[in-house]
Symmetry: D3
Subunit: 333 residues, 6 copies
């Protein structure tokens, strides 16, 4: 998607220019993984004009393979972003009606070729929320991925501006069958799948850790996931958040493990969840211990909050350093 | 429409920000007329979000009355603009699929109320090109305008990215019945209505003035227009144009009159045609001699080419000064 | 006034450009009220040049009625702003010598017409501080307002760079006779009217709430105000403030009521007091309970601190949401 | 003066920021001379705030000596600038009411000390136009300069927004007695002194060279100047000018000499006249032949038109290169 | 190289920010070829820090293969650019001492692998001018290229700030033995190789076409090149140039052919020569007629002059359209 | 040095422009001292091109005397800066290979003339780290300074990217003989001189004050310094630091004194140490009590952290006000 954000903390109504960057769940994850040094492909459909070309280059620039990016359709989806501060939340306005990816169906792509010799397939709950065509295309992709023995992760990512909870649950529940690694934030499980996260106040800063442990256990049991990861955001204000996560699996986290918790002065929190997902995928693919993967994911994501734009442009070294030495913020020179 | 243009002469593929302004044929004309001091209303439909609100404020700011601006629908149409130079043309990418105005039908608006106590109704050929709903809505507006004794002007404004010539001619020809003042550029008449402008090379700089005189006469005769105005652009390059116009009517221009001709170093030529239309409307409403109206329109439009953005933000005084004293460009101090 | 502020946290001595916006006490209040949906008029005098025109458009853009904006005089007042951070305070340099509004006398305006069918008249202590002519004009306005049965509010707004305390008190005390709603910050009452606010350290972060309660009572008793509102700013640093207020009236706040208190990460605190005043006026005009009006005013003002520029460009919905749900700063998407 | 200009070719009414630079006749000349390597002092009075300090630093930065810059008074004069293009002229809005320099009288400065061991004193017709105090102060300075044997140059610089022709002539004529080198543009002599420049159309592009030769002769004869220099601007448009000059003296230009003529694509023409004056002063002080001084002055000034801002930031080398090799515009690398 | 250019036409001494782009002869050619759709590799050495990474991404972004980009060494070369206008030339300041590429020797790279299955090797006279190490490395590359049957082109590109003519000729002449396609501008042949181009005034606008024809013939005969191409720039000023070229070969241009000539309003002429070289390579590889290749090259290069930055970001379609229809500069919409 | 920093919190890999300022240890100190009103000379060597000239003007602008700035050599050193936030540290990339100052030897400068009638000589540990030539030149300067009776201060300023600890200690220890006032941060003494600061965790936020007192005592005893000053930074994150210092001397601080401690919301911490050094020098030269000098230095430095750029552009008044009244951050108006 094309992201058009106002400069500084300006509101749309008072400025006369936008910063142009690109983003969106899967794009963000593919860029982060390429940036970490993995071979990463982004599958999507972009219009055949300069805007589509700029979107393509924005991921190629960071090393993402573009072999499976289709070109065609009318337009690229857009989202406008007003960055909030303190008690004023950031605001996203979607403008994705008729975007090229919503008309991408499985006849346009050879899923078996896509998944040949690949290790991992990641998708988010935003894609099926875009309409029936993308939901069907996604299901085909999941089936092909499983057939090819590719691991599948899903970030539930509920978006109330895209669909209602009922509708979401009807589409998302059947798709869980193909998912190995399920990633959710505080409210996703409840809204996308119909699960209750105890009595946690998801709007505020208070966290019911107990509740999240129960939720992780219930999710894993119900759907048979290999791994459940839940991000825990304490939203004190648009400028300051607490940030940690929970991992529950069949390996080193057989009892749900809570990660290190960071207090973050926020520069840009859009893409925060995606930076966790990409950190987790990288961790699970390269670390020998899943607790380490969790720490990597949370630290990666902590650093993302300090960078403008959707993409998490931090290196593996920087993340490892935060994990081992903490974030003292000393100048490196 | 939301206009997103790259800074300076940058291409979309090389920059990371856009200048946000607003524009579009009818918006441009209404802003110019309000700016000239006339009571000017803009009738359109804008989405009920910050982008729509910003569009509304962009015309209200310059004094346009917003009483008939409807709010609703999905999105505001967008166009991306790359400003060209020398041999590289400016480039417009439309992104208007599903915009609010394309779903605006006559049930949403009381045309009789709109035209009560009004003098003039201006529309452009872009509106019916947006789809059947806008074309029908426009026809209803024309009928109501004529019923209310309001004068109707139309800028033919053919846009090949919006419709084919055949389709355009089928829709536009019947609408001419309601038009009193017809405005066209070198190629509009041919492509929108099926008329031939002689053998003029409309892509280049050469002008067959004879041909345009014949065209004006033929248009007036065929459709019974009160007034026919044809703008004559000599496109030497994206940086330098010749600019003049022709007027033919039943008053002071009973033989087609050619205006003063300006050679223009171009800052921004988008909105150039609209600045002529608004200058002409102002001239015909306030001048006693239609030749003076023509000179006012051409000078207004000449000055527009020196201003960034779609809107013609020059004053009546500045235009009159160009008409009477020429454009020596001396600093005013 | 024309506000010229340096970008980011730059000092004037190190940058080479300014951001241009407009502001000033009464302008800020009129924009906020128009933005909340009330019919709002701004009465002032602006020079007849492009700078004056730009000032006029800056309020018209947000819906303020400009019928009573006079045009004439030499220049628009200017203030230069350096935005502070942490221990470095923001700095304002006034440049208002000879501004058009300082020469506006009552012969230029028909106050009876201005106040016909109006509900409320708001002024600030800055206006009479500009000189004898504005002080006299203001007094005439107050008399006309009372005659027309219009409610009058005053934000005391002492400015030490404009006048001395003695001089202020001599002018302000007699004007209190016309005031129904008196708004003050921690030090205004003391410096503008000669009242003591107990032993509160107004420069620092410590608040003597007891003292402010006494002050509110004394003000109300002495001048017979319907309503006294005192804003309570705890200035920890230029980057972080505590913010709340006190209301005392004959209705729901018969004992002085303290509002919710917000801790604010500051983006721009200029116009903070004006955003409280406009929130209070809106609240008193539309809420059935004056405690609700107080909460609305404090929340409106809290949000203003997160927006660059003088104007408070937040919607009623956003404010209500902060009042009812708190400011968790979750992204809205 | 503080110069606030809009970015690009934006009008004041459509932009939201200003570029901040400093300028004004004498400042421009002193910066250019310091930049050429001469010891150059700027005598003025600046307010004692950050704006005044920034102005002082803007000349000190380029090497101007600030020993005689007084500090005090209310404010720095401002001018707003809209840069024109093609047929749209640049526009200057003055805001200098009550500026510090207008209250600078001779009691504040020891003119004898100022002129001790100095070679040259330059002033422009703008200074006496600012009011009686500056006019008197200037006269005192002229008397002291002559007493100290310092050469005096004056750029007539008529500004219709500052005074009427009658008033100007009454003040300027007596001051000519102290002037050795008189610099004028096409219309200055006529408007400041009451002299006729033949029938030249000073608004347009046509030049009556004959007339200017006569004018130069008449000026020299009437006032007994050592040197008369007249700049000849052919204003084709705000984007393209012809530029040359005429010199008449008792040395190498005993018959009036016309310089090389340049056709200039204009970037910024404000300060163009001052760049000629400073070029001429430098030339007359360092060249052995006054024809060479003329060529240096015209070339310096030609280059100024290609630089944004008032100051002429070109080096002696660059100017000499234009004089000897012409302005082919080859990249230097 | 890292290119740091001032905004607009600002001089380095007056601005406080730089635009960051990347460029340099071979980088520019490889980006253009990738952008035209050819498989294009860029062979260089970049430091292993963020600046080097940004340089790498700047070419990868446009599709260049980065397999042979070595990482190591101290720093990336920088050039500072001040864009000139009218009589003021653009100015380049090189800062390349100790850059990574100057220490790249053949032990670091397997030239045989580089040239396996490749068609073309392009280098410029700037590389050997950087020092003995790069000159030797380049010679090794040439030998390997010839061994692999790869066609070799060289743009002579003399840079007087890098070496003296004597030194250049001693190094360049022996390298000509490996060159099939020799590209030169008006002065390169003379300064790099010691050849005379007749009496052409290379600084100015006058062109001695006869002389260039002789030069092309002499070059071809002396060194046995397959193809000689000479670009012909008429430098009227920094803002306006004439632009054409001459081709001489054994195919369709057996008598030297002069291309179409363009008059260009210049936006950015740095990289102009490289855009010709890349256009010519593309043309010779894909066109059946070498005259067509010449026309493609000149048109590609003409369009480059209208784009900021070193890279030629125009499409094949845009170039073909200029060749066939001319550059009328009509808006594309 | 030329400092090129990314805008906002952008990473180098995602932006396309840099902010250009100048800085470096000694430059920062000389600018601050000139800005405080002392006569301050900066001794360095800058290349003879526009970049060198811009560097020279950047210090002259703030009043630094440039008499001893040599011109010559290849280039100006550069550092690229990415401003960090929260857990992401700021990052400095040095690019100083072959800079002019590294080739400046004592034959180029008359040290006796430099130190004639001067009071103080300040240097930092960065200079000898640049290579043998600068180390030798520095030693010559120290000898000349002592001979002239000039007080010498040194900020140890260890930079691990410039040299190893062993190497540093071998060079720095002998130089201590010439130093009267030694300034160090938490880790400098350990790394530059081989001293232990107890078991303090210098990367984190925890401070072992006891340890620093011991360190100060040991340093003073070992080298016989008149004064030892140690800055104490508690690095909670890149956005928030604690900041204080310790002074130990033979006057008012005969037992090591700890200053006031500030909690700072950081805008820009580069140059923080230099702002302490310059504050201390100013304090020791102008205050009667060395405890006051310490408080001045810490407050000066606290304010520097709120200003973008290396230079500390705060006035003596602003610093005194922070010392006496604290940093409540109230708007000054």
């Amino acid at each position: 998607m094309l992201r058009l954000s106002t400069p500084g903390y300006s509101r749309i109504l008072q400025t006369d220019h936008f910063i142009m960057t690109f983003g969106g769940g899967e794009a963000n994850v593919s860029v982060a993984l390429a940036n970490f040094g993995l071979e990463s492909y982004y599958v999507t459909r972009l219009p055949k004009n300069e805007i589509g070309e700029a979107a393509l280059q924005s991921v190629r620039r960071y090393g993402v393979k573009t072999d499976y990016i289709l070109r065609g359709g009318e337009r690229l989806g857009i989202y406008f972003l007003e960055t909030g501060a303190s008690q004023r939340p950031s605001k996203v306005i979607y403008d994705r009606a008729g975007s090229s990816v919503t008309e991408m169906d499985s006849s346009m792509i050879d899923w078996d070729a896509v998944f040949a010799d690949k290790d991992w397939f990641h998708w988010t709950g935003i894609t099926p929320a875009l309409g029936k065509v993308p939901a069907t295309t996604l299901k085909d992709a999941c089936i092909a991925a499983k057939k090819a023995g590719v691991k599948v992760s899903c970030d539930l990512n509920f978006r109330s501006k895209l669909w209602a909870e009922k509708e979401a649950q009807a589409v998302m529940n059947p798709l869980m069958e193909y998912v190995d690694v399920c990633i959710a934030n505080e409210e996703d499980a409840q809204r996308s799948l119909g699960f209750e996260a105890g009595k946690t106040d998801v709007e505020g800063a208070h966290l019911d850790e107990e509740g999240y442990v129960k939720l992780a256990k219930a999710l894993k049991k119900t759907y048979g996931f290999d791994t459940v990861a839940i991000t825990l955001r304490e939203s004190f204000s648009a400028s300051m958040n607490g940030w940690s996560a929970l991992l529950y699996d069949n390996k080193e986290c057989r009892t749900p493990q809570r990660s290190t918790r960071y207090e973050i002065n926020i520069v840009d929190r859009v893409g925060g969840g995606d930076s966790f997902a990409s950190g987790l995928i990288y961790g699970l693919l390269t670390k020998t211990n899943t607790k380490d993967a969790l720490e990597f994911a949370v630290a990666a994501s902590c650093l993302k909050h300090t960078i403008p734009g959707d993409y998490n442009l931090v290196s593996v070294d920087e993340i490892e350093k935060l994990v081992t030495s903490g974030g003292s913020g000393r100048v490196e020179r």
